[in-house]
Symmetry: C2
Subunit: 755 residues, 2 copies
Amino acid sequence: MVRTALLAACCAAALGVTAYAADMPAAADQAALEKSFDANLNPKELDGWMKLMASEPNHVGSPHDKQNAEWVLQKFKEFGWDAHIETFQVLYPTPISETVELVGGKKPFKATMQERPIPGDTSSRSKEYALPGYLAYQGDGDVTAPMVYVNYGMQDDYKALERMGVSVKGKIVIARYGAGWRGLKPLLAQMHGAVGCIIYSDPANDGYATGASYPDGPARPPQGIQRGSVEDMTLYPGDPLTPGVGATADAKRLTREESKVILKIPALPISYADATVLLKAMTGRVVPGNWRGALPITYRVGPSDLKLHLAVKSDWSLKPIYDVVAKLPGSEYPDQWVMRGNHRDGWVYGASDPLSGQVAMLAEAKSMGEMVKAGWKPKRTIVYLSWDGEEPGLLGSTEWAEEHAAELKKKAIIYINSDNNSRGYFFAGGSHDLQHFVNQVADGITDPETHVSIAERHRAGTRAQALEPSAREEVKAMAKIDADPKKDFQLFALGSGSDYSTYIEHLGLPALDIGFGGEGDGGGGDYHSRYDTYEHHSRFDDPGFVYDTLLAKTAGHMVLTLANTELPVVQAGDFADTMALYLGEVKKLADHRREAAEIQAKDIADHVFQDTYDPTMTNGMPTALKPVPKFDFAPMDNAVKQLQKSAKAYDDAFAADAAKLSPEARAKLWAAIQPLDQTLAPENVGLPGGRGWYKNLVYAPGRWTGYGAKTLPGIREAIEDERFDDATKYIGATADALNAYSAQLDKATAVLKGG
Amino acid sequence: MVRTALLAACCAAALGVTAYAADMPAAADQAALEKSFDANLNPKELDGWMKLMASEPNHVGSPHDKQNAEWVLQKFKEFGWDAHIETFQVLYPTPISETVELVGGKKPFKATMQERPIPGDTSSRSKEYALPGYLAYQGDGDVTAPMVYVNYGMQDDYKALERMGVSVKGKIVIARYGAGWRGLKPLLAQMHGAVGCIIYSDPANDGYATGASYPDGPARPPQGIQRGSVEDMTLYPGDPLTPGVGATADAKRLTREESKVILKIPALPISYADATVLLKAMTGRVVPGNWRGALPITYRVGPSDLKLHLAVKSDWSLKPIYDVVAKLPGSEYPDQWVMRGNHRDGWVYGASDPLSGQVAMLAEAKSMGEMVKAGWKPKRTIVYLSWDGEEPGLLGSTEWAEEHAAELKKKAIIYINSDNNSRGYFFAGGSHDLQHFVNQVADGITDPETHVSIAERHRAGTRAQALEPSAREEVKAMAKIDADPKKDFQLFALGSGSDYSTYIEHLGLPALDIGFGGEGDGGGGDYHSRYDTYEHHSRFDDPGFVYDTLLAKTAGHMVLTLANTELPVVQAGDFADTMALYLGEVKKLADHRREAAEIQAKDIADHVFQDTYDPTMTNGMPTALKPVPKFDFAPMDNAVKQLQKSAKAYDDAFAADAAKLSPEARAKLWAAIQPLDQTLAPENVGLPGGRGWYKNLVYAPGRWTGYGAKTLPGIREAIEDERFDDATKYIGATADALNAYSAQLDKATAVLKGG
């Protein structure tokens, strides 16, 4: 809130109290608690911890991964927590051999699959067991074929390829990173008949165009390689062999062939130094403007005259992963869990990703431990989770959640996630009934660069983005909300790409993902490369560990508030408003698609496509779009209306009556609120198309965006994918879920009203 | 019209007749005429003429410029035309010395100001008097200063610079070509306090990114330089010393210092090979994403640590220009002139620009000459104009128009312009009351690549463009019109950049600009360079001179129709509809600007800008936008309403009664229609801000776009430039002009109705 936040710049601590006072009892106690908590945070410790944990490669299966788990366990114990390691056995392939070579060129060319050490970066020299360029869960193979450049290799790019009259059938596609999750690139290539896939980091998106290259600046150097997972997480994340259940030693397992989340074609990531050679060898049409990267060449679509030889052979054995689980038992409500997690495994040294968030979490744990030693007791149980195996596919968090699903559904009141962190703006995504809570915490924390609250700076960031010439309509709409001091700033919707996924999308638990970032030129150039080192992080991403410490402070305040509050922090009106917004978007989408299909049908009838063929080039016709019916949105309209009514009733009743509740009534209120968000993820529905693991009907990662969220996914994606019967079916199912939420909320309102 | 045009693919000639039959008497005669005309067109002749005319540099003042004038005169005479040369004496600077060098670098660096000959292009070797890289009417000077990269150097870029906290005061700006007319780049630099300006062709816009570089493909090679004029044509075009009057030997002249259209700071164009060295020397902030070009560097905004030495010294003497004026006298209405022009001067060899259009015009003249020799007589006088000095500032066309203004206002019924031409889509801009006429002609001509009519292909082109992900709303709106078979395809509005400007914008005459283009990868890479040669044109731009011949056919049909028709071709409804469209745009603009000013005011009040400063970079505050008042658009609303009424009355009366008119009534009708468009350019108003030479209140080049048109410019630009009193004033003045148009049209309607 703008005004509050402006004042907060002068006297943040005092105002933190004021902000809390309105909604939360015992504000003075909370302020005192936060003061003690903050006093224990020390950036120098975060620095030291990262240096140690990032000193050697720590990917799944590496010696240092296990060492780090044991070290973190030890730390939690030192801090006074009740901690243990929980081990799972997961399918985790590692490369035995990799080949990317041009066949029949004038000069032989072979891509380099491991980065060279970089002068001035001691870490990057270390250890020979560092993972080379690799894409976990690609399909091994040995193919030789012409190449086709497919831009980002996403759905729209295949539509453009159709118009260019170029097929990838029997070819190896070359895709650049960006515009969607990496795993979709080989998947879409495979679905279109390609026999292999190369992904590279184009300097337009991730290299010299964005800033000076490492070590002169933070941007990706020519030889930098982005590793990553291509497990088809849009079907389900976690161990590919044990969907839905914990990958314990004795779990029932699919065979590798049975698993639907492992690709069938070989795929490898390469650097832009190497990609330049391949792209220079391309022939065929010059690409459209939005397909061009920043290499000093004429980008052509192919197929190439020269062939590429791509071969990958992996070790497909099971490997152990080590989750560290640490608890501070609750003194009054031990069976209500406040959960907080961050992963610990990297692709190589993993300094920014994930250790920047991991060391923040350790700092929180240490500080809380000190407070416990000084006599403080959390009312609820605090559970800290140091995940392993996030990088290959959220393995540690998913297997643990699947193993403990029943208990979590009963006990968890929130899961707060973080991951890589750096200098800049506060960001927060998650369950929209937690929006007001997040705003309250963020209003009370001061940004060290601008001395306004991190909420205020976040709002300023959205508003500044909306002024950019290329700003999308959604950003402008969000900026409008964020500019209104009477409104909370908007949480973004969660998709995938970090450990919150299973908690919110499979179990339906309330969840948040928070962090800082977005400042500096060319940040992120170390992402998933050998150069994501302590040196890179401390020089460019968060000098002085200022923002990593700020993450600890922010997450810590959230955890402390939730561990101690007598009353739930849900503000249901935010959720209802957001659902109304999403429903409006989905309706607009349907109209937009209907119009597009009508225009295209007319264009086809009038042979617009043939009439624009350039006879000196390859050309092709687009696939005809299906006519889009008029959907009956009435069930959703009614559900959203009811939700808004129920939400207002709850929020009003809470404001009027919550403070007066007896302890028994409070217990009843918690009992009504704890399962509230789970109504959005009914057990027996799930998303269609092999995505039944995803139960949440409000938040999901997009089937064709990967990390990017799709809200009201059953409806929205059905419209996008032309599954129009599904759209109608999920209008009903999603409305049912919202109605269940409203009904559950009504129970809480009844408690507030003395029922 | 889609359906007609589809049929036209099969039997174009017959349908040409049908299309004309509805509106124009003597359709069969016209069809026969066109058949004879077409039979005389021979692509081989165009080829030979271009080869000859482009064999040596032909810029103003060059020996070959004069030789070409004399040769063209001779040709017209051979063709049986009454032809002469009209000479003007214009200020035309030519370079004596030019320097662009880095000062204080490790290695000395000097930019190369003339392109090397290219293997396989015989022409590019020719003659040492070829003009080097140069910008006509820059201000001579000798300066040494740090550099600032300003992206395209347009208004929005200076707003972005403000936010980046970088000033160009006392600096030399480096701007890339694109996003607006070149002349505005040094002008805006000068207005912001810069002491010099370098413009270069970035390969993102014009080089290897767009296609293979010459000679492998058509795109600009690293050493290619775009010459051009930077005369401030947005104040007035033509000879800088004789605004408003012909630059005859004895004309009254301003001094060079008095002329407002000559820049005060030195400016030069360079190649991207040379620009790379300068841009690599830049320091300071990394540029925003939309400021990046395609060079393999990190683009930085500066100011640079190193300084640039920029020096230009020119010969500012008067030079002669030679307009060739050729006539075929009208047999029945000799005082009604059908005018057709194309310039003849290039920057170096000028093959595509302008000789591709010039040889088309010669082919038309030859064919008409043959027809005259065979006994045909045009009813109206046909005037063909081979302009000199277009490149430096529309000198030939402007001086001739100013010299003959009174006669032209009395006699001209149209001016049809063309310029450079190449393979691809038909395009046509101009007076919207000629829209139906243009459609009729275009419906009758077949595209040689697709075998549909050029109208149909034009429509398909717009519709295909509208399907691009980046398509602007205006393109989508235009595609909607172009997809409607009941509607004519839309003419674009004329701005500046070729010889129609003075005719439509200063004299208010009906005018058209037509041509073909837009196909092939990297076309236009020869633009204003030494590589705009016969070899480049015939290899890449129009192999076989197919589309240059098609231009002759298209323009020829227009001229023949207009020379012979008994009745005017005006369809007033198209003009009225277009005015309604423009008024809607202007209102939207006002609302949009009002909202933007409100948002910015709130952003400033909430210190959004300071809160988004990155302390590791330079930062700055934007200039506050003025609050935008609510304008009273009633005078324009009423004028457009009246216009639509008068237009409908005229079009209906024309359809019902025109064919029945007596010769005397027809003469009266012509007398009412001939001055119709001139009502839009009242003598005593003109545009504000030193732009009074621009009289047309409907069509003008934008003050801050240069070539790009601004429609209803008095109103639109006043809103854009925050001259809100002017907006109100020009709402009145523009409404008056539209009312005068309606009143004039009513006179014609009265004639049709027997008045």
